[in-house]
Symmetry: none
Subunit: 396 residues, 2 copies
């Protein structure tokens, strides 16, 4: 069944508050960060609404940010893919178009023999790397393709070629070791021959431009092209806005065709932005990064604090009287692991018609007995649509 065949309109407003990496796991040390956080406002919301747990991709599968957000937005991450190049480009506010070829780039140090001496050019500081990338952007000239190169941080950059007849099936030039020369860009498919030549020409010009610098070469990996993911508006008929601080999440939202609102400064500013744009959209995606960052740092206290910070701005969100509110994460980032993980993520939905269960606190342990059950994250989106009155009856 195609969900779009059931879509209808309503003027209900949906707000999704995403705490990046929200999930965690309890162990001998104590509860999860969410269980142990002091969250009176989220607990009140849980008491009025329904709770559950979501697996993002599947049992035991640890999601990256791409699958995590696709699932949140109702796209089965096993069916749809935002490739590394597309995400990297999105994170730099570069929107890939059909036929573009993008890759992650490292500035590197080559020795006199042309072998790789340092794959990251000694982690060249950003202030030194940025002008080099700028020179590459200005000075490179390619026949029949247009180069976009964007500096990211330290040695990292993103390279994109745009032009007719390009093909992304190119092997990495980064051999992932030192003492050997970079691989020549190899066509992995007969159609990719010209694209491989263009990237080889790019590398020749880059070496000339960077000659004499500490970073005197460039390594490319993860060649990728635009993935044709259907837009959020086409799939759900929702006029959606992203309220996100970090470029990556702004980029993912833009890839799905959401309006990306001005870059807010902090949580309070996100709440203010929500209020400013309230009249103009049906669906708001609010992204909070600090939970994930704290989890990645292994800092349990900081993660708890990041959760409590969201709890404190909740009265501002609820003052807008949203019809449907969902609070959840895009994956778990347990501080014990200092990394993303596969553990189920708690979900809380509060809506007039969503029903209420006996769960009175927001947290993994409590959510387990909630009426949303345990399910795939992508199944939450139809429930949000139903709560918003946006799905017609199926069958007579």
């Amino acid at each position: 069944m195609d969900l779009t065949s059931l879509l209808t309109t309503s003027d209900a407003k949906i707000v999704v508050i995403l705490l990046d990496g929200l999930g965690g796991y309890a162990d001998a040390r104590g509860g999860t960060e969410l269980e142990d956080a002091d969250t009176p406002n989220l607990d009140a919301l849980a008491a009025e609404g329904s709770s559950g747990l979501a697996e993002i991709v599947g049992p035991g599968i640890t999601p990256g940010s791409g699958p995590g957000h696709l699932a949140l937005f109702g796209y089965d991450p096993l069916e749809f893919e935002l490739g590394r190049g597309a995400l990297s480009a999105a994170g730099l506010d570069v929107q890939l178009q059909a036929g573009d070829v993008a890759a992650r780039a490292n500035l590197c140090t080559l020795d006199d023999a042309g072998n790789i001496a340092d794959r990251r050019a000694g982690r060249i500081p950003s202030p030194e790397a940025a002008p080099l990338v700028e020179r590459i952007q200005t000075e490179v000239s390619l026949e029949g393709a247009e180069l976009t190169i964007r500096h990211e941080r330290e040695h990292r950059a993103m390279v994109m070629l745009r032009g007719p007849g390009l093909d992304h099936r190119i092997g990495d030039t980064d051999p992932q070791q030192t003492g050997v020369p970079p691989n020549p860009p190899a066509a992995l498919h007969p159609d990719a021959g010209r694209t491989a030549e263009l990237f080889a020409e790019l590398e020749r010009q880059v070496r000339k431009i960077l000659a004499g610098e500490k970073a005197n070469g460039m390594l490319l990996r993860g060649f990728d092209t635009h993935e044709d993911v259907p837009s959020f508006a086409d799939r759900y008929g929702l006029n959606a806005a992203a309220v996100a601080i970090y470029p990556m999440y702004r980029g993912i939202s833009r890839l799905l065709g959401m309006d990306v609102l001005r870059q807010p400064e902090d949580l309070e500013d996100q709440a203010a932005l929500l209020r400013e744009a309230w009249a103009d959209y049906d669906y708001f995606f609010v992204h909070h990064k600090a939970t994930d960052a704290a989890g990645e740092d292994g800092d349990r206290d900081a993660k708890i604090a990041a959760i409590e910070a969201v709890d404190r701005i909740f009265p501002d969100v609820m003052a807008l009287d949203p019809d449907v509110v969902m609070v959840t994460g895009d994956h778990a980032t347990p501080p014990q692991m200092e990394a993303h993980s596969w553990h189920p993520v708690p979900v809380l939905i509060r809506a007039e018609r969503g029903g209420r269960d006996e769960v009175t606190r927001f947290g993994e342990e409590f959510a387990r007995s909630g009426m949303l059950g345990q399910r795939r994250m992508s199944e939450m989106m139809p429930i949000l649509l139903a709560c918003a009155g946006r799905l017609k009856k199926y069958g007579a």
Copy 2:
């Protein structure tokens, strides 16, 4: 895996009691109707058996009666379909055959210019509409096709053509607005050209027959044909009987090849009918409509009363000593919404070998922690078969 490959026989008797629209949701006002109903017999059954919750079609999807009953009978409603025309025909005890084309019909009022003045002919009362439909049945004559038209209620009727080479891919003639003429029946596929002409000829004759009446035209929508749904007997090897009062549910049962027993008068008569036919069938489907009707009316008290009425006849059912009993709904009909909804429906199975969990009351909240878990409704059918000893081991 094909379930039929595992089928074996047994003389266990299965009774399924369906409370139409049973499910609901709790909110600030209180629990669901089932939670708040006084149901000592169903609670005792829950205490002896296993409970769970079922989603009928999928998360957030509100099922019509067709998908709701298909799921109850173990047919995935995303795989199998009982179209609007087929259901409409079934509801009027008209059994579509392969090649028949059926549609829903409205008697309407056309103005002098041939534009639609009223799509429902002022909701013409049944006693006035029935003779008009009867005249259409008597007086229409079509070349190469036989017309069946049945009056339903007020302005509603069902039209069916039977004959060689018909095709149901015809566009609605009902434009769903007034002030414009009806659409001519349009062939949506090259094969449907002649069928479109037959329906156009039907419309010409109907206008002549009804000339001068308040209902002087007919609008058609939902052109449909017989869906080839495998029979209940073929899928499960069960000799099944339907104990249903309302034509629609009798019709659905007949579409699946069940024996439809005489039309009972009320719940007590349904219990009596069950007793009468007890020796002759393996599987009994008992349909109770009042729960759904009360939900559609937004009448919480009436829905509670309708549930309690079923509870009261339960001793009569259990006196037959059925081996496997399931009590559930085909969808939720929360009185708060006065409509079908997507909320999960409680399921109760009591069988010697079905196991018992800690749930001691029948209701959404209690079922949530039951051993049947939360799953798709169509998954309950294999569990019933297993409890009845009708499924062999899979694999060596």
